[in-house]
């Protein structure tokens, strides 16, 4: 085969090679977030209350223990699951129950839920029940928020501050 023609064919091969890299290194563009959507994220770490109330130990029970083991209250390690509900404009977004991690189910629960929602003004209601001994939700909060395109609304929670919408 003619050397010049062969070099030409090689050039075509290299061109095809870089064309594949050219295109797939950035195209086709991927639409991750539509223009009319925002993201609601519920993220926090929370420990449920113990499943049973602490019990005061009797003197007889304390006498059976070595001195360094004696304590007034006997508390169970197991914690309550966290039941979370988030409503948006009356519709439920999340309704989840998380069991505490750990062999004794005594760890804090890490919560991270996210969902794409329509932009605009919304009315949020969030509830948490963190004790099996409670009859109803232990924390509840209502919040109104206007969501812009692609905005991330983060709902966090701490015992002292309650729910925070950012």
């Amino acid at each position: 085969m003619n050397k010049v023609f062969r070099i030409f064919l090689q050039g075509l091969s290299y061109a095809a090679f870089v064309a594949v890299i050219w295109y797939f290194s950035s195209e086709p563009a991927f639409q991750h977030m539509p223009a009319d959507k925002a993201l609601v994220v519920v993220a926090f770490k929370h420990a449920g209350l113990p499943v049973e109330a602490c019990r005061k130990m009797t003197q007889q029970e304390l006498d059976l223990l070595s001195p360094n083991m004696r304590k007034v209250n006997d508390c169970t390690r197991q914690r309550s699951p966290i039941h979370l509900q988030l409503f948006m404009d009356g519709d439920i977004l999340f309704d989840k129950i998380e069991t505490p991690p750990g062999i004794y189910a005594d760890g804090s629960v890490n919560i991270y839920y996210s969902r794409k929602v329509a932009t605009g003004k919304h009315d949020f209601v969030i509830k948490i029940k963190d004790s099996v001994r409670a009859d109803s939700y232990t924390y509840m909060h209502q919040h109104e928020q206007v969501l812009d395109t692609a905005q991330i609304l983060v709902i966090s929670f701490t015992r002292d501050k309650g729910f925070v919408f950012n």
Binding site: S13, F30, V41, Y112
Partner: protein, 507 residues
């Protein structure tokens, strides 16, 4: 011989490169090309590391500086770094497809197959952490996606995704990613690459100079006309909307918009396991491995030098003979290619001392004695003038098919199994010409069979074809399974040569 459709498709597609690149066919150098791209990635990466600021607030600005202020050097380095990484994925995928299509994963070659696949899963995260370091919206997107993937693994407690909430991202996490990308992942990859080629001998990690120069120039041109750019800086208070993904590395992330992280993991796992266990889905028909006959082995070590799979070792003599060494075959590593027999001095068909030809190393299912017998039978069965005997291999064109009155073909396990003395023997016993075929040139199924045979014929490697043999009666022509025409042309070419030589032969 029935050729599987995948193999036929691959060989047909490869023909383009065979004609345009000839000896430099890039499909035969995919592994070394991948190594070459790694060299580019390494050198450009070291350069980029110097001006790079490894912090959440400094990273993006420093990459932008490289891209726009020092575009002529750091910018090109960045583009080279990215495009060479993409090129490596292409060559790896082609390498994988090639080995799959040519069924080069069966038998004892399972090891290279099984150790090769995880390399892909190591390289992709290396690319991902690289994109992460730019800390633009694309980095933010893959950080969130990766976090969701990791959070789905039940061994991790806590939520990794929480690290990427507004004002949560810390330099500490960024430092971890830097460590992974710059040191941790490359070191693991290097070790895995060593494992991948551990059972191969004469490993080459550099492509031919022409290919290296060509691909480097191609990448430079691409870097100049389409410099790698960043997305807008990461903003953890908003979700990135439209993204220009590098589909070579980030193809898994869009799935997370439709599937759960667990489903994505499942898909990845299923594909990986299916590919990994492929050698056992289609097991190779077992051939007996090479066997050493110490009675006839003088410990010359040629088979040890020739074995492409490091299946032969040399040790001190154990039978008390005067020779200092003997060879030992490890059946677990032997692929039964027979190349060792072709390199054995004692596989000489002229040996008359014994009725049965017994070389120092032999293939029990197709011994050298049987090859001598078939050679004689083929010559005896030919009629007329200009008898041509074609030695081919089981992985190239099925040479038995070119049978005519004065042409016969004998297929070997590999063309490298042919002792050069067998060529002389055939010419002496009545063949007018010998054509040595095999796989396509430079594409030996057993790595070096075709090359060693060619070198032996040209007296560049031991055992060499005796000087007195008239090379005008011999032709070498690689022919893949679909290259019937090329092989027939070579037979005709040899026959024409023989006709021209006729008066001389009659003198």
């Amino acid at each position: 011989m029935r050729i599987n459709p995948l193999r036929r498709l691959y060989i047909a597609a490869e023909t383009w490169f065979k004609y345009s690149f000839a000896e430099l066919n890039p499909m035969y150098h995919l592994g070394t090309l991948t190594f070459f791209f790694f060299w580019i990635i390494l050198v450009s990466g070291i350069y980029l590391f110097v001006p790079f600021k490894g912090s959440v607030h400094g990273a993006y600005a420093s990459v932008e500086w490289m891209t726009h202020q020092q575009w002529y050097l750091a910018g090109i380095m960045r583009s080279l770094h990215r495009y060479a990484s993409d090129a490596a994925i292409i060559t790896i995928l082609l390498h994988l497809f090639r080995e799959l299509a040519l069924v080069r994963y069966q038998g004892t070659r399972w090891y290279s197959w099984v150790t090769g696949l995880p390399l892909l899963w190591m390289i992709i995260p290396l690319g991902i952490t690289g994109y992460w370091l730019v800390w633009d919206q694309l980095a933010q997107y893959i950080a969130m996606g990766s976090a969701h993937l990791f959070d789905a693994i039940p061994i991790f407690f806590g939520s990794m995704a929480s690290n990427f909430l507004p004002s949560q991202m810390s330099d500490r996490f960024f430092t971890l990613i830097m460590f992974l990308h710059l040191l941790g992942q490359p070191l693991i990859l290097l070790f895995a690459l060593w494992l991948h080629v551990r059972r191969l001998s004469n490993v080459n990690i550099m492509p031919p100079r022409g290919l290296a120069i060509g691909s480097f120039i191609a990448l430079i041109i691409l870097s100049l006309i389409k410099p790698a750019l960043s997305h807008p800086p990461a903003d953890l208070s908003t979700v990135p909307q439209s993204l220009n993904l590098d589909w070579f590395y980030l193809n898994i992330y869009p799935l997370l918009d439709y599937w759960t992280a667990g489903q994505v993991w499942l898909l990845t796992l299923v594909i990986t396991l299916l590919l990994i266990f492929l050698p056992w889905f289609f097991p190779k028909r077992a051939k007996a491995t090479a066997v050493v006959d110490l009675e006839n082995c003088d410990g010359c070590k040629q088979c040890f030098e020739d074995c492409p799979y490091d299946a032969i070792t040399v040790q001190a003599r154990t039978d008390g003979k005067k020779h200092s060494h003997e060879v030992v075959v490890d059946p677990a590593l032997c692929t039964s290619c027979g190349i060792c027999v072709g390199g054995c001095h004692s596989a000489n068909p002229f040996r008359k001392a014994e009725k049965i030809l017994r070389p120092g190393i032999d293939m029990p299912d197709f011994p050298a004695h049987e090859l001598r017998k078939r050679t004689l039978a083929a010559i005896d069965s030919m009629q007329g003038k200009h008898k041509i005997l074609v030695f081919g291999c089981d992985h190239g064109y099925a040479v038995e098919r070119i049978k005519t009155d004065n042409t016969r073909g004998i297929s070997l396990y590999c063309s490298g199994m042919l002792p050069p003395t067998m060529i002389r023997f055939a010419l002496r016993k009545g063949a007018d010409g010998v054509l040595v075929s095999g796989c396509r040139s430079n594409d030996c199924y057993n790595r070096f069979g075709e090359r060693w045979t060619e070198m032996r014929i040209l007296s560049d490697r031991q055992p060499s074809l005796r000087a007195g043999v008239d090379h005008r009666h011999i032709i070498s022509q690689g022919a893949g399974p679909i290259d019937r025409k090329a092989l027939e042309k070579s037979v005709q070419r040899l026959r024409k040569k023989l006709i021209k030589l006729e008066p001389k032969a009659s003198e």
